[in-house]
């Protein structure tokens, strides 16, 4: 069986308002599944339901083919959670924090010590394990937050925006660590607002909005499916007199924009017209310095699906 977790028609409401609206998805062994969505999309509610902290009204969550409700403790034993908030005791050292939380998963004695050191080494805090968490920087606390969740070596790790408000070095360390965990077979469900993180680590992406899943797939397939456009950026010599409007005669061209010594041509993806565009440049005796093609970014896909209006 490839699916570790299956969510079927999950629904959660607060009074009249439905915050999670019959969503279904699965989490496959060893993958990094990124959950994307604007504020209020229902991501955190979904995560909190999966972590067992929130109840739900309808639907079913299956862990390895069994309803989670019937094997809750077994499921929790295999679950690691990195909440968005720093869930650590500031007055304890990193080692004491990890030891305490790992011991709640049944670890004890030499195994507890070994796993504590392993988790702290993994997040790069072993050398400062005796220091109180209150003396740590924001990035170090975030890493400790992760160490507390992985010391018991869970099969499924749920991470809710673990890189919020930290420096690029710590973020890079965390993202590298996540990829490393995935290589070692850990399955990761990851929520974030940062598109570049999703580009970097995701195996698959779920996009949520207004409590529903509105798109699902790999980053490549989402870009392919959602956007029907691509852009050619043609760099010309300075003071080139090529008329941008001359490109509109080519089939598929939707928009042409001149920016300094470059011309940006937006064209339909399914129309093969590059040779015709180049022919116009050659015929006008312009000298082309560079040309490259840009497809839609994940951010474009996200904005196209969820809209550009501000969310509260």
């Amino acid at each position: 069986m490839n699916e570790i977790l299956e969510v079927h028609s999950l629904e959660k409401s607060y009074g009249e308002s439905t915050v999670v609206n019959e969503i279904s998805f699965d989490v496959r062994k060893g993958e990094i599944l990124c959950l994307l969505g604007p504020n209020g999309a229902g991501k955190s509610t979904t995560i909190n339901i999966l972590c067992g902290i929130l109840g739900y009204h309808n639907g079913e969550i299956m862990y390895k083919g069994r309803n989670v409700k019937s094997c809750l403790n077994k499921f929790k034993q295999q679950l690691g959670v990195v909440p968005q908030e720093l869930a650590i005791y500031e007055y304890l050292s990193a080692e004491q924090n990890v030891r305490f939380f790992a011991s709640l998963y049944g670890l004890k004695g030499a195994k507890l010590k070994e796993q504590t050191d392993k988790a702290l080494e993994f997040v790069g805090l072993l050398e400062r394990k005796k220091d109180k968490a209150s003396t740590y920087s924001g990035g170090m606390k975030r890493r400790l937050n992760i160490a507390c969740a992985i010391a018991h070596e869970p099969e499924l790790l749920i991470m809710d925006e673990p890189t919020v408000g930290i420096d690029p070095q710590s973020r890079n360390h965390i993202l590298t660590s996540i990829k490393e965990l995935s290589k070692h077979g850990m399955t990761i469900l990851y929520t974030t607002h940062y598109m570049e993180e999703v580009e970097e680590i995701s195996s698959r992406i779920l996009i949520m909005d207004s409590g529903s899943i509105i798109a699902e797939g790999t980053k490549e397939s989402l870009k392919e499916d959602i956007s029907d456009e691509r852009q050619f950026i043609i760099e010309l010599e300075e003071d080139d007199k090529l008329d941008p409007d001359s490109f509109y005669q080519v089939e598929g061209v939707k928009k042409v924009k001149k920016k300094e010594n470059s011309i940006i041509i937006t064209t339909l993806k399914n129309v093969e017209n590059l040779d015709k565009l180049i022919a116009i440049i050659i015929n006008s005796k312009s000298r082309m310095l560079n040309i490259f093609c840009r497809t839609a970014s994940l951010e474009n896909v996200f904005l196209k699906l969820t809209g550009k209006s501000l969310r509260d």
């Binding site: 909190n48 902290i53 929130l54 403790n73 908030e85 709640l104 998963y105």
Partner: protein
């Protein structure tokens, strides 16, 4: 059960490392006994001196204030966030507040035992019926701790709980004569004061110590036990895991 003890041990360590709570449970009641005992020493007779009176009543006052310690151990900001991880871990959700009850009870018991020993040795406070007194004091302490936890479960915040608790404890202590005797203010005041649980606790204690009279101990123990059980049930019914989401 294992997780309950692990969490309780951590909560206990949190309390014992907190100088404010140590001060509040040890220095504060002793200081109050010393000050009020000294100021009112001429108002009391030879059989029950002012230190004898306040040695019992102010320890009772301190025991009744333990609810604030348990509320702090349960929902203080720096505790509340790590509580989330306890919810994520395997085991019963109720462990989270049972551990606070156990930890606060052990902590407060040690502190108040120290207070009593010190008051007996240094101020020669008269104490008798020690096993019965320990039983009474322990139940009063547990009553207050459980009250703090129950209010946290109902109101979801430490701040609100402490506001209510401090007012309730202050009122029942005043009417119970824990801070000064209300017996001289007439029949009506005396009747109102007899409604205060603090009055029942102090009467039971003084009757046991000075009159060798244990008749009110059993009803007091039953009343406290039933109240504690009821408050635990209310806590179980009102505590919601989502309250731990920060």
């Amino acid at each position: 059960m294992r997780n309950l003890l692990i969490i309780a041990r951590e909560d206990f360590m949190n309390l014992i490392k907190n100088p404010m709570w140590i001060f509040y449970a040890t220095v504060f009641p002793i200081l109050m006994v010393v000050i009020l005992g000294f100021l009112t020493k001429d108002n009391y007779g030879k059989e029950i001196g002012s230190y004898d009176y306040y040695g019992i009543t102010l320890i009772l006052y301190s025991l009744l204030s333990c609810g604030m310690t348990s509320a702090n151990a349960f929902m203080e900001e720096r505790i509340k966030k790590p509580n989330m991880r306890i919810i994520y871990a395997p085991g019963r959700v109720s462990s989270i507040f049972f551990s606070k009850i156990i930890a606060t009870f052990v902590f407060s018991s040690i502190m108040h035992l120290f207070d009593m020993v010190l008051l007996c040795l240094v101020f020669s406070i008269h104490l008798a019926a020690i096993p019965q007194m320990i039983l009474l004091f322990s139940l009063v302490e547990l009553f207050s701790i459980t009250l703090g936890i129950m209010l946290c479960c109902i109101f979801k915040t430490e701040g609100m709980t402490n506001q209510i608790l401090s007012l309730v404890v202050f009122l029942i202590s005043i009417f119970g004569g824990l801070l000064f005797s209300m017996d001289g203010y007439g029949e009506v005041v005396r009747k109102i004061c007899s409604l205060s649980p603090a009055k029942w606790f102090s009467n039971t204690a003084f009757q046991m110590i000075y009159d060798n009279n244990y008749s009110t101990l059993l009803p007091t123990v039953i009343l406290l036990t039933v109240t504690i059980v009821v408050m635990i049930i209310i806590s179980l019914l009102t505590f919601r895991k989502e309250d731990c989401i920060c």
